[in-house]
Symmetry: none
Subunit: 197 residues, 4 copies
Amino acid sequence: MVRNRQLLLQAATATFAELGTEASMGEIAHRAGLAKGTVFRHFASKDDLIAAIMLQMLDRLIGTAERLDEKEDAAAALADFMASGVEALVADRTFCAVIGQPSLENSGVRDAISRLCDVAETLTARAREQGAIRSEITGTDVVLLLAGIHQTAAPLLTAQPQAWRRYLELALDGLRVTNARTLPHPPHALHPTDAPN
Amino acid sequence: MVRNRQLLLQAATATFAELGTEASMGEIAHRAGLAKGTVFRHFASKDDLIAAIMLQMLDRLIGTAERLDEKEDAAAALADFMASGVEALVADRTFCAVIGQPSLENSGVRDAISRLCDVAETLTARAREQGAIRSEITGTDVVLLLAGIHQTAAPLLTAQPQAWRRYLELALDGLRVTNARTLPHPPHALHPTDAPN
Amino acid sequence: MVRNRQLLLQAATATFAELGTEASMGEIAHRAGLAKGTVFRHFASKDDLIAAIMLQMLDRLIGTAERLDEKEDAAAALADFMASGVEALVADRTFCAVIGQPSLENSGVRDAISRLCDVAETLTARAREQGAIRSEITGTDVVLLLAGIHQTAAPLLTAQPQAWRRYLELALDGLRVTNARTLPHPPHALHPTDAPN
Amino acid sequence: MVRNRQLLLQAATATFAELGTEASMGEIAHRAGLAKGTVFRHFASKDDLIAAIMLQMLDRLIGTAERLDEKEDAAAALADFMASGVEALVADRTFCAVIGQPSLENSGVRDAISRLCDVAETLTARAREQGAIRSEITGTDVVLLLAGIHQTAAPLLTAQPQAWRRYLELALDGLRVTNARTLPHPPHALHPTDAPN
DNA sequence: GATGAATGAGTTTTCATTCAT
DNA sequence: GATGAATGAAAACTCATTCAT
């Protein structure tokens, strides 16, 4: 049933957020009020479940980016995008843990990350053109920063759930600096095999 | 034997850096050229071993900070400290993974983090007073940023091991901005439960 | 539906032949183009399904024996019967695997095996009387030899699908010897618990 | 400890003989009076355990063959070898179940089977030369017959543990026939990739 | 002190079987 | 009658931890 799938995704998201990816499938089943076997009926393996959660979040974030791209003010759109992104990570540690592991060789997730970088680049390009941010910043930079900002605030998560706003603003201030030296390392794509440009 | 303890710490650091915290005690023992039982003679549990590694790294970092505090140029000292810190994280994923988990209820590590925040605050205060960075930035902010910058570059780690330099510079640029709005969330200590001083 | 039953028996026969008795009910349902639940509507349990397949094969073999019994030449009839029997086993490993397990306490199968031994005995008796085979050989011996001959050639099954013919002939040569010593162990019925007749 | 290894091999042999290869590692551990983990300390996987059992039996059988080869009377030596072989199978069904599964891609076992065929061929060759058996029979035929004879008697195993002697004699009588037609299918090696001859 | 064999709880995953639709 | 979602009892295998030698 489609409702059980939702139940499982919710339970898994919450469980992974709380215990990390090492949380057991049994725990997730229990929290969803279902039997172990049912988890495997919906997601063939633990990796599949993790991938599904990440895809869900990535798709949401891509949608947000596309909606924000219709805004006139590119700088505000970019800031809103980053706020949405960090907030999504705060609600679900899984994303962060897995985005750094290239071992998750899930093509669906890889593709979604590429798409996310693409829409981020669209937003970023407009902000660059409007002179709102440094000219050297790419969409991939912006996506990478999401996880970085989240991580910065993560140790405070329980005591200060909104602390990420402080570090997001700090990062935005860094992006907005226009009279600074060129950054010391060139930008790079996350999955450079995607397309030769 | 005190030499075995060193062997184990080295092997464990390398193993955790490579395989993450899920690496088994057996693997660590093997890499140290010792038997499993010996690991438990030196470290009562896996968590203890992890804590010892973190302590080692934190102590090194505290030492670095203290040495840098003797420098005249506070801004340069702070930048060097952050570079050392991020580099240490890059060399050892364990730190990052654990710092966000308040579940590591190890008082030794908590104390060391507090001390690190203290020396970082000393460095930061001088930079603030010299007008080199925003007046609202605290030592804790700086410590938190270490993990954040590392995480930002983490997905590129294999392909671009030096990418963290790009994001460190970006963060420093954010810190150096002086004409920006006040940050939206107040600063906070990492372990506010410590005795109030 | 009676047609679904046929579909299932065919699919199960093929599946067990290919994958052995460990093949899953789901796989069988899938190959039959039906749902798992339907398998259980037709066969109360996996053991029941296996028993049904064996019954089918045994019935076919009994029919063959009855038809061959009308032949004049008893020796040829017996040889043909054995060839049919071994060929049936070669086409379906299940039979062989299960015949040796007294754990399959299925009375239908036991009865069918008894009937098979009976018709085999009819054929064998005529061959004995015609002096074509040793006088001490029983129908049960002949039935047991079917599985034995199949097993002899089984390791070559993939590379040499017809190898059983070699060992069938060898066995027949053994049966035809008339000047040999009496066999060292007396003949026995397969299911001596059957009503004494 | 070496004694536990023996305990496990014994328990596993008995368990597999009784329940077939589907018997669980847990059951084996239990029968050996050891914990589950201990089984895996001695045998890395279930397949490894099965392979170890088969190797043990094959090595014993090879030894027997070599000893018998010193006998003057080649026919008697061959008969003794076959009796030993069938008896070994009767004591351990595992061998039979696995010899037919080329899926057990264990090179150690494959090599041992080859060696067994080689010594069997040595025995067989002498019997052939002494005119005691048909000239077309190979060592591989003899090895294959071991499992076949065992299988023939298998259904009687509980009621008549010695019934295999009846079918062994029958097979020997087949081998001894010298005035029979040539067998219909040529002989073949079990692992023809071993050496081109 | 060091060893490594033994332990057993815990993990992912499979699958026969049941049952509401 | 048919379906396939749900179940939960195994199964193979891992690993932190203990302890006799």
